[in-house]
């Protein structure tokens, strides 16, 4: 009987001690905000285009954290879906809707001689990438443009084009080696040509 009482007392006091520790740490080490939202947000392409149905990338990140599908980001394409699936340990889905898996990156271009200076595109641009003033010609800061094409619709004179980003020497990248075709795969090691001996 005595041992039982001792055991109960010991367990009870342990429970109190651990409860206090947990309670203290819950206050002391409390994480403000939802860290997963930040992680998701950092994976999204930040075009702020709203094609996912949310007013910006962060709202979409928040709703992904609340269980929305991860395949609603056309600018991010399949790569974003994969990285999101990897982060959240979810199944990799196909991109929602009829978008290209790997969309061509574009950038807005204002045909400046047609611009009437209405500032509508400036208001529409989510990243302040359009420069101009009322009744003055506007232009796009190419380096800041995310290619969200939100500026195209408000333009009353349709002078904004979405141009694909041209490949230059600076952004050129090595292509992956071509995958061998069926015929080539049937080649066996002995078919390999002998290396030409140059040393004479």
């Amino acid at each position: 009987m005595n041992t039982i009482i001792i055991a109960v007392i010991v367990l009870f006091s342990l429970a109190i001690v651990f409860g206090l520790i947990l309670g203290f740490s819950a206050i002391k080490f409390q994480v403000v905000g939802n860290p997963i939202v930040d992680q998701i947000d950092s994976l999204l392409p930040q075009t702020q285009c709203g094609q996912c149905g949310h007013p910006g990338c962060r709202p979409y990140a928040e709703s992904i954290a609340n269980g929305e599908a991860i395949n609603k980001c056309p600018p991010g394409g399949q790569a974003t879906i994969e990285s999101l699936a990897n982060l959240l340990d979810l199944e990799i889905l196909e991109l929602d809707g009829d978008h290209d898996d790997n969309p061509i990156k574009t950038v807005a271009y204002i045909r400046e001689d047609e611009c009437i200076g209405c500032t509508k595109c400036i208001q529409a641009c989510p990243v302040d990438a359009i420069l101009g003033a009322a009744k003055q010609m506007h232009t796009v800061i190419v380096d800041e443009c995310t290619g969200c094409d939100l500026c195209v619709a408000p333009c009353p004179v349709d002078c904004i084009d979405m141009l694909p980003i041209a490949t230059t020497i600076n952004n050129w990248k090595w292509q992956a080696p071509k995958e061998h075709n069926k015929f080539q795969q049937q080649l066996i090691a002995t078919d390999k040509s002998q290396p030409v001996e140059q040393e004479s």
């Binding site: 989510p126 380096d143 995310t146 050129w172 990248k173 090595w174 080696p177 080649l187």
Partner: protein, 869 residues
Amino acid sequence: MGKVFAFHGGIHPPENKHQSTQLPIAKAPLSKVLHIPLQQHIGVAAKACVEVGDKVLKGQCIGDAQGHLSVPIHASSSGTVCAIGEHPVPHPSGMSGLCISIETDGEDRWIEHGALENFRALSELELIDYIRDRGIAGMGGAGFPTALKLQLGDKHIINTLVINAAECEPYITADDLLMRERSTQIVGGIDVLQHLIKPSHVIIGIEDNKPQAFRALKAAIKDCAYNIDVISVPTKYPSGGEKQLIQLLTNVEVPNGGIPADVGIVCQNVGTVYAIYRAVSKGESLISRIVTVTGGGVNKPQNYETLIGTPVSTLLQAAGEIQDRVSKLIIGGPMMGYSITSIEIPLVKTTNCIVAASVNEMPVADPAQACIRCGLCEQVCPAQLLPQQLHWFAKSQEYIKAQQHNLFDCIECGACSYVCPSNIPLVQYYRHAKTSIREEQQEKRKSDLARERFEAKHKREQRAIDEKAAKRKARAEQAAISQAAKKLSENNPSSPVVDDEQQLKNQLNAAKLKLQQAQDHLTKLASSHGSQVSDSALAERQVQHAKSNLAQIEKAVDDFKPQLASAIVDVKKLKIGAALANTKLNKAQQALKKAIEKSQPGVEQLQKTITMLDQEASNASKLYQKALRKNTQAETDTTEVAETKRLKIAVAIALSKLKKAQVQFANEEYSDAASATLFELTKQLEKAEQPLAALQKATAENANSATNKNSVQPPLKTRARATETASPDLKVLKTAAAIARTKLKKAQDQLQTLAPEDQHNSSAVQNLLSEIKSLEEKVRLSQASYVKAKETSDFEPSVIESASVRRTHYNKILALHTKAMAALAKAEADNSPAVTKMRISIDKLSGKLKAATAALSSDSIPTSNKDFT
């Protein structure tokens, strides 16, 4: 002779160096046009500082360095700038880059230049800037700005200077020939570097397949005062790699992601050292370099001292190109170089070799097979990586894992690809993975920037909204304050009630004054005629009575004032409510319209809410109209008060008549008959005052009921009744009072005429008496009519009430009907499905309307009759 260490891996590909070492360095022919790319180095491209058409001299700066990580470019020969634009440049992509094209004039005239008199006299920084201004960038292959590499000495303590003379890549012999022929100049360059860096040890690392160069250098360093060694390293690819050579010579491994300076070593290519010598001792900018032209596709493979910007075609011609045999043109060596398609590509500072390879030399690569996990690649990797693993990760685009396996430590030497039995283009995979990762990083940076900008914009917009809201709030408060002030000012001076009150007060004061006078006179009379005391007391009582009446009027006025004000406020509120309800209704109707257009499911609900809102709106407007009516009643109250005033005036006049009569009485020398007349007159006045008192009582009642009216409906009705009854009474009494007044006047006149003639004419007095009697009769009559009117008004109210109720009912129905009709028209225009329902309800309404009209018309006849009675 220093000790030689070893690095991991490495291969021994066929060297093929002897073809191009048979002939000495030749001067390449001057090309007609030189295309000088603005970017020939790692970092930021230079910016053209000449314009098309400008005459330039050899060695003239034509492109300024942009920032720290950049070097200027110079004209390689004299001539005219013929174009500044895109031109194919030596790049694995085969794409174009910005070039300055110079049409040479053949004079090859140098710009004025001279050697540094004594480079040792210059400060370190000045010397480094000088080197930089001569456009010197690493000539081993990467093209890193040399000045930047030398500046590192500030942050790091450099104890060893390594001169890279290994030249491990097959085919290339440019450095070999340079060392053979110009070893003293190279040592001259080393002098400059030694002065700049001040290392404790200078090591020249040279592969043992270049014995002639080794001997030449050995001879050249004999006179050197500092610690310098030429060390022969075993021939093994890629011993010419910076990190590999450092390990070979010093057994120090450059840390992952670090630079040689981190371990106290600076490594410079032998070609760069030669360029530094030329710059310092001759003042020449980097405008030429030694290029090996070799391969089975040329007749005389040879090294050429070539001007920067010379097209490949010029060199190939000089070397005797056999076009049929050239299957592939390679810039750089066969291991790390890349093939080019255009022969117009110019040579740049980093181009050390052109291989015009025949088919035998560079056969088409066999198709890649599957990896058999033989592990040969791992054995040859000089960077001690796991090429096989990297291959898998690169292939499946698992870049994070590839980075974890140190992909970026790969020097892309191609040893793994060379040994791969399955012919897997491993390096190509790594290059792809590297560029993809870099692209991702770039995008990440861009997206971070975009996020930052987006958040900044969002914050800015939020701030603007908040500011607007605050402003609006402040404005609303201001408006409310000014509104209240306005209301207050409206109520005070311009209120009709207050005006009336003022008038009433004035009259009251006047009446009081008159009363006072009458009282004074009476006291006088009382003192002079003791016998008339009783009469005077009577007059005094009358005056008292009039006083109390006045007090009553005052009270009524006081009671009436706040009620009227509250009524006005109430009406305003109701008006606002009605307007609100109407706007709500309009909005709901618009929403319904939209919903119908879009055929949304919530249409029925919307319709319900609309009917609800409709009712609300009609109720509100009804209330408002009622309130308005109340207000008009309140106005009639004011008129009532005015009537009271008039009566009051009449009373005052009567009082003055009394006074006059009293004066006459005094003049009549105690005539009994006259005194009797006076008595009668006073009585008559008293009687005349009675209806006034009754009226005042009624007014007081009205005021009392009016105070209750706002909260409850029934008091309003009683009040209305009282008002209705009061107005005919007032008329009757008014006429009665007027008649009494005229009669009194006549009696007075008669008395006056009697006074001078014969005061003792009893017959005249008799006549007067009889007249006064008839007067009395008339007053009585007027009183009776008053009583009668009161009685009728007691009975009539129910009729009036019902009539007014019917009228309001009729109005209500009429309003509803018109509204319903409008709604129907709208619904019909929108093709709403609710049209039929609406029609039915409208039919019902019109029935009700008809009934109401009938009721109203039947009412109107007795009502109008009553008005005339």
